[in-house]
């Protein structure tokens, strides 16, 4: 029945700030460390890796993933998911090719982007107003839009010759390709909207406690639909870039693209349960995937080993970081 008390000094203020910072930006820091380590590794081990040409190429290759990952960060932060982005990319690429062939490239471009937006809004409306789980809506869309792309093109790809469209995929400015610049713009915009606007805040709130946001008088269905419209639009933009880069609108573009995008977002520290996300993390996540597939080829890894090694790197990257940063993340889910 004795009680004694002892006081131990708390951590210094500086250190505490650091700890708070780390635990709050845990996801981003974690993927940054992985990215830097892999970057250093490939620079040392693969001769051709650290050359301007190669890096410029990688940044173009990964641009569509980065762009769609930006929108997907919003979607996943609301606790939803969009599995249809690969099919929408394919549909957009195919339609851009077909419409451009009619000789009106500007109309083709705008038409494709608007179509992406509309398609995304349909997904969003079904999920938000139809109260269906986004997973199942966009899974249906994954099947249906790929089918539609094949239907309208009858399976053929269309060469793109328009001098107006090709620079979207192949133009260069200040040493970087146009897709890279578009991706950079997308990241900047996404960062601003996510962190500095009401929309961004409501996106987090929907994922964190949708009922709470609803009771605060916000129409959560608009938010849920809005983010899915965003991925539709981003996927269409990625389709345009892909088609312009390949000078060919192919209905099979974007196969399995959704998994790549989701991987990038999750690698970047966004929680699939919603409520926590980071656009910068997603961008670095996408870059990481880009240098992995580039670096493994440059290292001349046997073609059969590439997917195995990719899977292992992925697991190790996340595992290492759970262990490394784990103690900061506390007991929360």
């Amino acid at each position: 029945m004795t009680t004694t008390t002892s006081t131990v000094p708390t951590a210094g203020k500086r250190e505490r700030h650091l700890l708070t910072f780390v635990s709050r930006h845990f996801g981003v820091l974690s993927i940054t460390v992985v990215f830097v380590l892999l970057f250093l590794f490939f620079s040392v081990r693969a001769d051709a890796f650290l050359t301007a040409d190669n890096l410029v190429n990688v940044m173009r290759q990964i641009a569509p993933t980065v762009i769609v990952a930006m929108a997907m960060t919003f979607v996943i932060t609301t606790g939803q998911i969009d599995l249809s982005v690969g099919s929408v990319l394919g549909l957009s690429a195919a339609l851009l090719g077909m419409w451009a062939a009619t000789g009106k490239p500007l109309v083709a471009l705008l038409g494709t982007l608007v179509l992406g937006l509309v398609v995304g809004m349909v997904n969003g409306a079904l999920a938000a107003y139809g109260r269906m789980q986004s997973f199942i809506v966009t899974l249906a869309a994954l099947t249906a839009f790929r089918g539609l792309a094949l239907f309208v093109t009858e399976g053929y790809s269309t060469p793109i010759e328009s001098t107006f469209l090709l620079p979207i995929g192949q133009g260069k400015l200040l040493g970087l390709y146009t897709p890279t610049w578009i991706a950079i713009a997308a990241v900047a915009l996404a960062w601003y909207v996510f962190n500095h606007t009401r929309f961004g805040r409501y996106v987090i709130a929907v994922g964190s406690n949708a009922e709470s946001l609803r009771r605060a008088g916000v129409d959560i269905r608009k938010i849920q639909m809005g983010v899915l419209a965003l991925t539709g639009f981003a996927a269409a933009l990625a389709g345009v870039i892909t088609a312009a880069r390949l000078a060919s609108g192919s209905p099979n573009s974007g196969t399995m693209f959704e998994l790549e995008v989701i991987t990038a977002v999750v690698l970047g520290g966004t929680s699939l349960m919603g409520g926590r996300g980071s656009v910068i993390g997603s961008a670095i996540g996408a870059l990481t995937l880009g240098i992995i597939s580039n670096g493994l080829v440059l290292l001349r890894v046997d073609v059969y080993w590439v997917p195995i090694v990719q899977g292992l790197i992925l697991v190790l990257a996340i595992l290492m970081n759970t262990k490394l940063f784990g103690r900061f993340s506390g007991t929360r889910k």
């Binding site: 709050r24 601003y192 500095h196 606007t197 009401r198 805040r201 987090i204 709130a205 994922g207 964190s208 406690n209 009922e211 709470s212 946001l213 609803r214 009771r215 605060a216 008088g217 916000v218 129409d219 409520g275 926590r276 506390g330 929360r332």
Partner: protein, 236 residues
């Protein structure tokens, strides 16, 4: 302000209840666990839609339904489950749905919101050092204080408090009671749900007893004692 209403889950939770709240009046809504108090008040705040019945504010039917309409009619509520976003910080929760932003750039004014949040909390004597803490990790009492602060800072006409003091320390409870007196003096109507019956006697102008989904009794605090109230709550 409230008219007949009912609601069914698979069981009837509210079986026709009428309630009228005058400006500046403090009503103590009491009843056994599961009597339907929270459900009734959620309807007033727009969070739950009644199966039938009407809600009138200043004699006019509330335009539209849902929390947005209730908010613009000046009804604010502290929910029993608090309804906070765990992943957002204190200031973001306080301003949820009413963020301050620059109209042209649509940029949120984080600085101002944090400053105002800190001030509002201070005004309410809530000791939370850092408004950029995430509410998910805060203690039960701290979370409740934030929920109260959110409801009162926006000058409601009707303030509904569903068990606002359940997790609060004694001093904070006193503060909440004082707060109720203050706002009602300013003409704000208050509906207080609580199981701390003594508190009710301190602040209420009228008791309303809900029993198994019906409005069982209405009592005047001046003419009622604790035992009478408890008896009424048991449906007698």
């Amino acid at each position: 302000m409230v008219d007949i209403r009912k609601k069914f889950g698979a069981l009837s939770v509210l079986r026709g209840v009428n309630l009228r709240v005058a400006p500046g009046e403090v009503i103590g809504l009491v009843g056994d666990n599961g009597a339907g108090k929270s459900t009734l008040m959620k309807m007033l705040a727009g969070a739950v839609t009644p199966d039938s019945g009407r809600i009138l504010v200043d004699g006019e039917e509330m335009t539209g339904s849902g929390p947005r309409a209730a908010r613009s009619a000046g009804i604010e509520m502290v929910y029993q489950d608090l309804a906070l976003c765990n992943d957002l910080d204190v200031a973001a929760n306080l301003f949820l749905g009413r963020e301050i932003y620059q109209p042209w750039s649509r940029r949120l004014d984080h600085g101002r919101m944090h400053a105002e949040a800190a001030e509002d909390l201070k005004k309410l004597h809530i000791r939370i050092s850092d408004t950029s803490q995430e509410v998910g990790n805060m203690s039960g009492g701290q979370r409740q204080a934030i929920a109260i602060a959110r409801a009162v800072t926006f000058d409601p006409k009707v303030l509904v408090l569903d068990e606002p003091t359940a997790a609060l320390a004694a001093k904070e409870v006193e503060m909440v009671l004082q707060l109720i007196r203050d706002v009602s003096a300013r003409g704000v109507s208050v509906v207080l749900i609580t199981h701390r019956l003594q508190d009710l006697f301190e602040v209420c102008d009228r008791f309303v007893v809900l029993y198994e989904g019906v409005l069982h009794r209405e009592l005047d605090p001046a003419e009622t004692d604790l035992t009478e109230l408890v008896t009424a709550m048991m449906g007698k």
